[in-house]
Symmetry: C3
Subunit: 349 residues, 3 copies
């Protein structure tokens, strides 16, 4: 008999709605009672190809709080550079192949977390998510996406923070319904560098999944997200109600919003050609989230995945306002990831 | 009702004498019995803006020995660079603000340790200790100084080693009194680079606090320490007895000393203008602690905070002598820090 | 009374055959039952002067699985650069001396692991193994070689994988005898850079220790290993039976082999003069382990210590073949190191 395929956690879109709701409910339980033994004697390898503060701390502490241990590895810095292509003659920089890395780590640990941002040269390459897919293909234990070209752990933390705000995590409330029909604005903001679209892709995915009326607000059509994620959002709207529209008009987008979620990203048509994108981006510094814009909303809440450049993406007043739930969202990373790790380990027990 | 202000551990000078003695007594207990459960299920984030061996190892192991877990973060290396000014438009290198870093970490962990050396450009800036103060202002959990412009954990370890040597940690002895009136020399030594004054500031602070007769021995008046710490020392002398004098004469300073503590530091009037200081510093290589100088003492003990350049700051013979208690002092870091962490966590329970 | 000398784990050659067999048996038990409490409340400092994936992860997890904790330090990166010579005037880059580092860490932890590759400039210097020897001389706790100019942990993992394959870890089998007389080929392979001889030295040492008929296959006499390790191998042959020969002929070396172990290394006569060695090395790319060569063997198994460059040192087909036991060998690192750590700690209890 063939073993069941390994369950990874690569994207929320791979989960059923029931599975998603169960994870969020479990995360809420972990927030009330931090400790547990779901990972007793278990371990997770956290592979960081890029910097991290919240992800690193929350995964490492989540493992500890559940009785497990996280090993943090930084390939190319304290571990060897890795090859991800199949069939190559490895006479370049990479000292070992993902096949060996994933197989060996699978012998040591029960879970593997991977953070691997795009290389920002060729989107057609980066959109294949080869680092994460390489681990998922070769590992014999579950792989968790710690942000590559999507950021599903952030999605769960974000959804949880919104449910908390709008009442969904109170006993007796129905978290499935509490976000339905809320007006949600995902707004692009300026940033001096062209950034990853991962969180934007993820925000669009989870907001539509929750049945919200979603506006993607961005400077020009060039800033619309990759068709894969626009497609997921459209599919989510079809299945969960709500709506999706793209807008380039700040005032009408903010008008009556219940949620404003901000993120900066580089325009995909200019991917790898960032010098050409820069003058365009520079013209839209006024997309900053400020009090004037927030005043147009329906007493809306503001959030951001962090890290955030103050007074570039959002003003001090917005960040320090009681309507800012970014810190709650960041805290929730700890709890949703405990739920994810516990479920993946339990499924294999 | 306003919550009580958070208790941090930023400087020993913030502690009452009773509080200081209680910490040292608790550290002595931890040295006899290493393990405990004072941090069971608790965690500490250790933020290193600079390199570390002893501090890193002793905090991480201290947390483990008490049932807790330390997460080690290096902002700017494996985590994002951080902005500490309020109100800035963050379009430079920093990707996030201390307000978010401190608030988020406070949701994850029970304690935050911070190591942040001066930038060595402008002492009027560095003396504000903005990194540590930024964490203390924004964090909602206690913050521990792991060396910034003072090094209070080193002070405790140093005082403990002296108490051990002079009999204060034996049952029935009075640790409060055992160091009173001892002749203590803090001697500047040569080092090829201009170093932080933190340990010198701290040595002066704790030695006067313990009521010793303290001599600050340095090449010229330019090497006297910042007025804040000279002031603390003067205040300590007023309250605890003992004395404080500055000397530039090696022989008279060493004569009859019970304790010689060595440290190199850069002259504050030349702060940021180090090329001008270098020829002055180079003239005082003979401040090295050697056997001839130690022979002038009252069979005195020698110590240093480490790291130490052998045969530059002290000779091999001094370092390898049974009168050198630097290794004991380094060991004590582990135990005093367990006492500090345990107390800060207990105060919030 | 003098205390007994500290037992380190620097080379398998320091162990009696009974001691070696006992370690392998204990490792096999740890592979069947991962967890234990042999390191409960204990700790190990892992000092990495070079990159690592398997060593880092397996030691850190091994400590965790036995109830202990590993502190990972990278001197020169997150900790201070270290001086290893005695008597030097330390006015160069090093900020502290091995004497202090080893003594202080010995106060904090129960074990010290050291990875320190050669500097590749002067073999007469590197062959003294000064970093490891420095720790062993100054530490007051056991020191473990995590790969310097030999790699004894890899040897144990390799021997264990071979015993597993040839039946030695089954109940009732005699692991001491199961490898005797097997035909073992250690083959040099091409690599774009001149690599450390550590694993080659170690493979020769353990293969002869196990009484196998060992062929060292390399391009020219310049690639023969250092006389110290050739001498160990000759001594092992004398004591354990088996044989040792050097060959430069691929076909006859592979013919009838039971085991093919591959490794690349730089030619010692060209040590530090690598530009002169490069054109020689470049002529022997055909030493790659491929299916044609493996077809000459006695249905032999293939292994490698990893990291491995696919299609440079061995082909995809060899690596992905069921005869490749490199992943088993890598897994065994975890278990043999638990056995080593547990024994060293028990000896001092």
């Amino acid at each position: 008999m063939q073993p069941a395929p390994i369950q990874h956690f690569l994207n929320t879109q791979d989960l059923s709605r029931a599975g998603l709701d169960a994870l969020l409910a479990e995360a809420a339980r972990y927030k009330r009672h931090r400790a547990g033994d779901a990972l007793k004697g278990k371990s997770i390898a956290l592979l960081f190809f890029n910097a991290s503060l919240r992800t690193r701390a929350s995964f490492e502490l989540g493992a500890f709080q559940l009785g497990g241990h996280a090993v943090v590895l930084q390939p190319g810095k304290d571990a060897w550079p890795i090859e991800f292509e199949l069939g190559t003659v490895m006479d370049g920089e990479a000292e070992e192949h993902i096949a060996e890395v994933a197989r060996v780590l699978s012998r040591y640990v029960d879970l593997i977390g991977v953070r691997a941002f795009p290389k920002f040269v060729d989107w057609s390459q980066d959109r294949e998510d080869r680092v994460l897919r390489g681990f998922a293909r070769h590992a014999t234990v579950p792989v968790i996406n710690m942000e590559t070209i999507t950021h599903p752990c952030q999605e769960l933390a974000h959804a949880m923070a919104l449910q908390e705000h709008f009442g969904g995590s109170e006993p007796g409330s129905d978290p499935e319904r509490v976000l339905r029909g809320k007006k949600y604005v995902l707004t692009w903001t300026y940033h001096p560098k062209p950034l990853n679209t991962a969180v934007a892709n993820s925000a669009l995915t989870i907001a539509t999944r929750m049945g919200m009326d979603v506006t993607l607000l961005c400077p020009t059509p060039d800033y619309v997200l990759d068709e894969r994620y626009m497609g997921w959002a459209a599919q989510n709207v079809a299945e969960n109600g709500g709506s999706l529209r793209v807008s380039h008009d700040i005032e009408s987008a903010y008008a009556g919003a219940d949620v404003v979620y901000a993120k900066s990203w580089g325009a995909l048509p200019y991917f790898g050609n960032w010098e050409a994108e820069k003058p365009i981006r520079d013209r839209y510094r006024h997309f900053i989230v400020d009090e004037a814009k927030m005043a147009l909303t329906n007493d809306g809440v503001f959030s951001h995945c962090l890290p955030l450049r103050r007074n570039v993406k959002a003003t001090d007043a917005v960040m320090d306002s009681p309507r800012c739930i970014a810190i709650d969202e960041a805290e929730n990373r700890l709890h949703v990831q405990k739920a994810v790790m516990a479920r993946l380990v339990a499924q294999r027990a």
